[in-house]
C-alpha cells in the first residue's frame, strides 16, 4: 500500500494541528498496525524452516516421492504463505508445485509430490520460492529457501547375457597363452588411489611419504580391461537424429559397462568429453577400468549427466586416453559416424597393441566398403539404432 505512510503522517499533522487527544489514538492505531504488520512479517520469515527429502539417485522408470516440509518454528502464526517449487519439466508436468497455506504457531506442513523418472539426466529440484506478507498489504517478503538440489537419473541399462561377438573377452580375442591380469609380483609403480581399489593394493610406505593414498601398479601380462570411448561431439551425429542417437549411444555405453563389470566381472572404464551440467562447463571424463560395482555406479553417474557438446576432437581423446591403458586392453569406440581420421586412429590403436571395436549409432547400415575396410583392420563393426539392436547381441 503505497500511500499508507503519507496518510499516517497526514493524520499526525492533523492531530497535532487540531490538538484533539483522541485523534492521536487514531494515529497510534494506524502506526501500531503498520509496525505490527512489518514486525510480524519479518519475524515469521526468520522462523521459517524448509526441508526437502527425497532419494537423489534413481533409475529410469522409478517414481521418486519428494517430501517437502515447511515448518514454522516460531510462536507467531503465518497468515498466508505462497509456496512455489520449481521442478524439471522432464520429470513432472506442470514443472512446478504451488500452494498457498496458512501456518499456525509451530505448525509443520508436508507437501508430497512424485517425480516420474522418464529420462536420464541430472535435474535441478527447486529452488523453493516463498512469498508471505501481512494482512493489509503493508509488508511483503519474497524469500528463497531450500536451495537447489539435484536428482540423478541413470541411463537405461539393457541387460544382455553375453555379447554375440567372436571373443572370450568382452569384444575381441586375446592370445590364450599369455598370463591374464596383473602380476602382483612385479610392481611397476604407484598411482593415486581410486574408488574401488582393493586396500591390499595400497602402498603404505609411499602413501606415508607422499601424504596421500597411493596404490601399487603391477605389470600386466595381458590386460582384460575395457575402455568405453563415447563420442558426444555434436558434429559426429546426424543433425536430424542427433538427440535420439546420442541418447542411444549413452544407453549402449551404460549397457556394455554393466555387462562387462556385473556379468563378466572384468574391469571397464569410460572416456568421453562432454558438457557437464554439474560443473556447468565442458569437461573431460576418464574413469580408468575397474571391476568394482561401486565403480560401475560412478560410471553410470557420469553417463547420467553428460550432455552433447561441440568443439571437441574425439580422435584426440582416443589417442590421449589410450596411453593410460595396459597393453592388450580393449577400446570400445561408440560414435555416430565413421571418418578418415577415425580410421587412422583405429589403425594406430591396433598397432599400439589394443583390441578395438567400433559401434556406430545411426539409422543406416554401414556400407559394404566400410565393412570391408574394417575387416582388413580386424576391427569389428556393430550398428545400433534401436534398443532391440542390443538385444540381437544376446
Amino acid at each position: 500500500m503505497r500511500n499508507f505512510v503519507f496518510f499516517l503522517l497526514l493524520l499526525f499533522a492533523l492531530a497535532a494541528l487540531l490538538h484533539v487527544d483522541f485523534f492521536f489514538t487514531i494515529v497510534y492505531l494506524f502506526f501500531a498496525v503498520y509496525l505490527l504488520s512489518r514486525l510480524w512479517t519479518r519475524r515469521t520469515v526468520k522462523h521459517l524452516r524448509v526441508q526437502r527429502r527425497f532419494v537423489d539417485h534413481a533409475f529410469i522408470g522409478d517414481r521418486v516421492t519428494v517430501d517437502l516440509v515447511v515448518h514454522n518454528t516460531g510462536w507467531l502464526p503465518i497468515p498466508w504463505l505462497e509456496v512455489h517449487e520449481s521442478l524439471p519439466v522432464q520429470l513432472i508436468a506442470p514443472p512446478f508445485y504451488r500452494e498457498v497455506i496458512s501456518l499456525g504457531p509451530r505448525e509443520r506442513r508436508h507437501f508430497v509430490y512424485t517425480l516420474n523418472c522418464r529420462q536420464r539426466g541430472y535435474y535441478p529440484i527447486g529452488p523453493l520460492t516463498m512469498q508471505t506478507g501481512d494482512l493489509l498489504g503493508i509488508a511483503c517478503h519474497t524469500l528463497t529457501r531450500a536451495a537447489l538440489e539435484h536428482i540423478t537419473v541413470y541411463p537405461r541399462v539393457v541387460p544382455f547375457q553375453q555379447l554375440g561377438l567372436p571373443t572370450r573377452s568382452p569384444l575381441v580375442a586375446l592370445p590364450a597363452r599369455s598370463p591374464l591380469f596383473e602380476d602382483p609380483a612385479r610392481v611397476m609403480g604407484v598411482r593415486d588411489y581410486q574408488r574401488g581399489d582393493s586396500p591390499r593394493r595400497i602402498h603404505w610406505t609411499a602413501t606415508a611419504s607422499a601424504g596421500r593414498l597411493l596404490v601399487k601398479q603391477y605389470q600386466p601380462a595381458i590386460a582384460r580391461e575395457t575402455l568405453i570411448c563415447l563420442d558426444l561431439n555434436r558434429e559426429d551425429y546426424e543433425r536430424r537424429q542427433r538427440y535420439t542417437a546420442t541418447e542411444l549411444a549413452i544407453v549402449v555405453a551404460a549397457s556394455i559397462a554393466n555387462h562387462v563389470i556385473v556379468r563378466e566381472g572384468l574391469p571397464a572404464g569410460l572416456a568421453t568429453e562432454a558438457w557437464d551440467p554439474l560443473l556447468d562447463e565442458q569437461a573431460r571424463f576418464f574413469l580408468p577400468p575397474c571391476p568394482e560395482r561401486a565403480h560401475l555406479m560412478s560410471l553410470l553417474e557420469v553417463l547420467a549427466r553428460v550432455q552433447i557438446t561441440s568443439a571437441t576432437q574425439f580422435v584426440h581423446l582416443l589417442r590421449r586416453e589410450s596411453v593410460n591403458l595396459s597393453w592388450g586392453a580393449t577400446l570400445l569406440v561408440i560414435t555416430g559416424r565413421e571418418s578418415e581420421p577415425l580410421f587412422d586412429t583405429l589403425v594406430y590403436l591396433r598397432r599400439a597393441g589394443f583390441a578395438v571395436a567400433l559401434i556406430l549409432v545411426r539409422s543406416g547400415r554401414p556400407s559394404s566398403e566400410l565393412q570391408e575396410r574394417a575387416g582388413l583392420l580386424s576391427v569389428p563393426i556393430h550398428r545400433v539404432w534401436h534398443e532391440r539392436d542390443l538385444e540381437t547381441w544376446q
Binding site: 500500500m1 503505497r2 500511500n3 499508507f4 505512510v5 503519507f6 496518510f7 499516517l8 503522517l9 497526514l10 493524520l11 499526525f12 492533523l14 492531530a15 494541528l17 487540531l18 490538538h19 484533539v20 487527544d21 483522541f22 485523534f23 492521536f24 489514538t25 487514531i26 494515529v27 497510534y28 492505531l29 494506524f30 502506526f31 501500531a32 498496525v33 503498520y34 509496525l35 505490527l36 504488520s37 512489518r38 510480524w40 502464526p77 497468515p79 498466508w80 505462497e82 504451488r98 500452494e99 498457498v100 497455506i101 496458512s102 499456525g104 501481512d134 494482512l135 493489509l136 498489504g137
Partner: protein, 528 residues
C-alpha cells in the same frame, strides 16, 4: 467462485454505508455550530441509504447488463427518488399545515422546492452516492487485468486512497466540530479530551475493509494462477485480522495522547534546565574558590579589628526556570514527564515511519542523497569524519598497546566489578586478549616489554624465564602475530588451542612469581 456471499452481499455494503454515515454525522455536527436548531438526522440517514443503494444498484446494472439509455433512465429514477426521499426527510418534525402550505407554493414557484438547505443536503447525498458507486466499481474490478492507461490506478490503491482521504476529511470535520472554527488558529489552546465514536468506527471499519481487500486481491491472483488454496486460509485471515486490529487498538489506547507542553516548549525547558545546571555549577565553583579568600579576609578583620566584616559568599541554589503551560501557570513535573513521553513516542513514530519508507524505496533515498544541499552536507560530514578518524589513528599510533587493550577487554583489572565475558569475544580478539594479558602479568612481575621489542624478540627474552612454558610462550606469540596481522579468519578451535597455551604460560608466570617471592624471603632471612 465466491464462497462467502454474505461478505459481498451484506457486510461490504453495510460497512461502506456505515462509513459514509460516520462522515455525515460529523458534517451534521459541524453544521450545528452555525445552525443549532437544524435537525440533520434525515441527512445522515439519506447518506447511509444512498451509499447502500449505490452498492446494490451498481451490481444490479452489471447483472442485468444494462447499456446506454437504459442506464441513464435507471440513474435518473434513482436520483429523483433520492430527491423525493430527502425532501420528505426535511419535513420531519414540521406540522402538516406547514408542509401543505409549502407544497402549494411549488406550482407557482417551482424553485421553492430547492431551498439552500435542501440543495446542500441533496448535493452531499449525491456525492455520497457517487463515491459509493465508485467504491462498488473498484471492488468489482479487483483482480481484473490492469488497463493500458497513462494515469491508471489499480482498484486496490484507489479504494485505499478513498478511505485515507475520507478519513482525513472526517478528522478535519470532527476536529473543527470539537474545537470550533474560531479556535483553529490558536495553537496554545488546551487539548480536547474524549472519545469520538464515529471516527473510531470509521477507521476500524476501514481497517477491516483493507484486510478484506488484500484477501480478495490475493485470492483472485491465486485463482487466476490456478494455485491450490488451503481451506483454512479464509477463516484464519478473519481471525488474525481481528487480532492485529485488536492489538493495535490496545496499544493505541495505552499510549499517551495529551500533552501540556508543545515540542518547542519542551526543548526550551530542557535548554533552561541545562543553563540553570551550568549556572549552578559555575556558582558552586565560585563559592569554593572564594571561600578561602573570605576566610583569609575574615581572619584579617579579626586581627586588625576593622569597621565591618567582609560579606560572606552564599551557596548558589538550583532553580531551573520551568516552562510555562498554555494557561500561563507552570506545569508540574508529572506534566513535563507526560509531555516528554508523548513527544518521544510521537517523534519516534515519525522517525520510524520515514526511515522504513526510505529503506523500502531506495530510489527516493538515492534521489534525496543527490540533492545539492544534502550532498554538500554529506561531504562536510565525511570530511569531519575523516578528521576524527585521522586523529584517532594518530592517538592509536602513539598509544598502540593501550588502545588495543581497551578494544580487547573493557579494562577487566581496574574496576571493582569484572563483568567481562571472555567467551563473548570473537576468536581473533580472544587470542589478542590472551597475549596482552600475559604482557600485563609479565610486566607486573618485572618483565615488561620494551617499546622497540617485537613480539618474537619479547618471546626470546621472556621465554628462558619460563622453562616449563617456553614452548607455549612461543606458540602464544605466534598466535598473537597471526591474529594481529593476518587477514584470514581465526576459528573457535584455534582460539581454544591458544587458550590452553595461555593457561600454561600463566601457570609458568605464577611459578616464577612463587620462586621469586621465596628467593626474596630467604634473602631477607639471611640478611640479619
Amino acid at each position: 467462485m465466491n464462497r462467502h456471499p454474505w461478505l459481498e452481499n451484506l457486510f461490504r455494503p453495510l460497512a461502506i454505508g456505515a462509513m459514509f454515515g460516520c462522515i455525515a454525522l460529523s458534517l451534521v455536527g459541524l453544521v450545528h455550530l452555525f445552525a443549532p436548531a437544524w435537525n440533520g438526522t434525515y441527512f445522515i440517514v439519506g447518506c447511509v441509504l444512498a451509499a447502500l443503494e449505490a452498492s446494490y444498484s451498481y451490481r444490479l446494472i452489471r447483472a442485468r447488463q444494462l447499456r446506454g439509455t437504459d442506464v441513464l433512465r435507471f440513474r435518473a429514477v434513482e436520483i429523483t427518488l433520492f430527491f423525493i426521499l430527502l425532501k420528505i426527510g426535511s419535513y420531519i418534525g414540521d406540522g402538516w399545515a406547514h408542509v401543505l402550505a409549502d407544497i402549494q407554493t411549488w406550482p407557482h414557484h417551482p424553485l421553492d422546492a430547492m431551498d439552500p438547505e435542501m440543495t446542500a443536503a441533496f448535493i452531499l447525498a449525491l456525492l455520497s452516492w457517487w463515491v459509493s458507486t465508485q467504491t462498488a466499481r473498484d471492488l468489482e474490478r479487483i483482480g481484473e487485468p490492469p488497463e493500458r492507461r497513462r494515469y491508471y490506478v489499480p482498484p486496490r490503491e484507489s479504494l485505499a486512497n478513498r478511505f485515507f482521504w475520507g478519513g482525513a476529511v472526517l478528522l478535519l470535520i470532527a476536529g473543527l466540530n470539537r474545537i470550533g472554527i474560531a479556535a483553529l488558529l490558536n495553537l496554545r489552546r488546551p487539548p480536547v479530551p474524549g472519545l469520538v465514536l464515529n471516527v473510531l468506527v470509521y477507521f476500524l471499519l476501514g481497517l477491516v475493509m483493507l484486510g478484506q481487500m488484500q484477501f480478495v486481491t490475493l485470492r483472485i491472483r491465486w485463482q487466476a494462477q490456478k494455485i491450490k488454496i488451503a481451506d483454512e486460509l479464509a477463516g484464519r485471515w478473519v481471525r488474525y485480522s481481528l487480532v492485529v486490529i485488536g492489538l493495535a487498538a490496545l496499544v493505541a489506547f495505552l499510549l499517551p495522547t495529551d500533552y501540556t507542553l508543545g515540542l518547542l516548549d519542551l526543548v526550551g525547558g530542557a535548554l533552561d534546565l541545562i543553563v540553570s545546571t551550568l549556572s549552578f555549577l559555575a556558582g558552586l565553583l565560585f563559592f569554593l574558590i572564594s571561600l578561602p579568600v573570605w576566610l583569609w579576609l575574615y581572619l584579617l578583620f579579626l586581627l586588625t579589628g576593622g569597621p565591618s566584616s567582609p560579606p560572606q559568599p552564599s551557596l548558589p541554589s538550583l532553580q531551573p526556570q520551568e516552562p510555562g503551560g498554555p494557561g500561563g501557570a507552570a506545569p508540574g513535573w508529572f506534566e513535563i514527564l507526560r509531555s516528554l513521553l508523548f513527544w518521544t513516542v510521537a517523534l519516534g513514530m515519525v522517525v520510524y515511519v520515514v526511515r522504513s519508507y526510505l529503506l523500502d524505496h531506495l530510489e527516493i533515498l538515492g534521489a534525496l542523497a543527490a540533492l545539492g544541499p544534502i550532498r554538500a552536507l554529506r561531504r562536510f560530514l565525511a570530511a569531519l569524519w575523516r578528521r576524527i578518524v585521522g586523529l584517532a589513528e594518530t592517538i592509536n599510533e602513539r598509544f598502540p598497546r593501550r588502545s588495543l587493550l581497551r578494544r580487547v577487554s573493557p579494562r577487566p583489572s581496574e574496576g571493582p566489578f569484572r563483568f567481562f565475558r571472555l567467551g563473548a569475544l570473537p576468536p581473533r580478539e580472544r587470542v589478542l586478549y590472551y597475549y596482552l594479558s600475559i604482557l600485563r602479568r609479565a610486566g607486573r612481575q618485572g618483565f615488561p616489554r620494551r617499546r622497540a621489542q617485537t613480539p618474537h624478540e619479547y618471546d626470546a627474552s621472556l621465554g628462558p624465564h619460563l622453562p616449563e612454558a617456553q614452548q607455549e610462550m612461543s606458540l602464544l606469540t605466534q598466535a598473537f602475530v597471526e591474529a594481529r596481522y593476518s587477514r584470514h579468519a581465526i576459528d573457535q578451535e584455534r582460539a581454544r588451542q591458544v587458550r590452553a597455551d595461555w593457561q600454561r604460560v600463566k601457570a609458568g608466570l605464577r611459578a616464577l612469581k612463587r620462586k621469586t617471592e621465596a628467593g626474596d624471603r630467604s634473602g631477607a632471612d639471611k640478611e640479619p
